[in-house]
């Protein structure tokens, strides 16, 4: 059962990677990277159950989920505004 799940996860990771490489638009790539981070979280959880010490691995999986969310927010912000907000608070460039 776990073997089947692992193979399915690896296949899903491969397909997400193909979309990240080919993806014509930015949003395809963002979605692919988000899918990939979710698949990594699931992969680590499955590895925990494969090796039998699931509680350590579940902690790592939780941390991956948090980091993946932060990265997705940052990527979306850059794709919307062009940067992470370095030039926004003081409108110095507009005045020149």
């Amino acid at each position: 059962m776990l073997t089947l799940v692992t193979i399915a996860l690896l296949a899903a990771m491969g397909m997400a990677l193909i979309r990240a490489i080919k993806g014509p638009t930015v949003y395809d790539r963002i979605l692919a990277s988000n899918t990939f981070s979710t698949k990594t979280v699931l992969m680590i959880s499955v590895l925990g159950f494969l090796t039998g010490e699931s509680e350590v691995y579940l902690d790592i999986a939780l941390m991956y989920a948090l980091v993946g969310f932060i990265v997705t927010v940052a990527v979306l912000k850059v794709s919307e505004f062009g940067d992470l907000g370095q030039s926004r608070p003081d409108s110095g460039e507009n005045r020149q």
Binding site: A20, F36, Y57, I60, A74, V78, L84, Q86, D90
Partner: protein, 186 residues
């Protein structure tokens, strides 16, 4: 099973690295680097190096991706055409890599119990650290207590590097602040 996972994950790593080299949109390259870090961390988990996987997740996936995105905000999204031929660096890298691979032939096989690194102080750590330190995880005991000064030095280096990057990224904004202030007073 673990063999299959290793082979597939390492194959995906190679594909991701090649794609990061071939793509010219820096935004896509940053996303490929994030995927690369996720894959590397998964490989570390398979190798049972859980603490390294933690570090890779926090630094590789989180902080370095965000730093690269902030840099894209400064330099623009398209890769500039290279100004030099890649032939000489390629030759240097291939020769260095071949020398390193040649050097690994003299090393004992991975996780061999009779390797010198497993014979030196590791048995004493494994036997004594629960009594001396009282931490169940031996790796944490070694890093935080036996090599405490070493870890402190590493933290100093990382802190200095982080401060340097922050100074570089915040430079433009602070200068425009200083340029603005005389106008507001007058």
């Amino acid at each position: 099973m673990i063999e299959l996972i290793n082979i597939v994950l390492l194959g995906l790593l190679v594909i991701t690295a090649l794609a990061a080299i071939r793509l010219h949109d820096l935004f896509a390259v940053t996303i490929m680097f994030g995927i690369y870090s996720l894959l590397a961390a998964a490989v570390f988990v398979v190798l049972d190096a859980v603490d390294v996987a933690f570090t890779e997740a926090a630094v590789g996936v989180g902080i370095s991706t965000i730093l690269m995105l902030a840099t894209i905000g400064l330099v623009g999204r398209q890769e500039k055409p290279p100004s030099h031929r890649p032939l000489l660096p390629l030759v240097v890298v291939i020769v260095t890599g071949a020398a390193l691979v040649y050097g690994t032939f003299d090393m004992p096989p991975f996780a061999a119990p009779d390797a010198p690194v497993q014979q030196h102080v590791a048995p004493r750590y494994l036997e004594q650290s629960p009594h001396e330190i009282g931490i169940p995880n031996v790796v944490t005991a070694v890093l935080a207590s036996y090599r405490g000064y070493d870890t402190l030095g590493e933290l100093t280096v990382i802190f200095t590097a982080g401060v340097g990057v922050l100074v570089l990224l915040g430079f433009r904004r602070r200068r425009s602040h200083m340029a603005d202030s005389p106008e507001e007073e007058s």
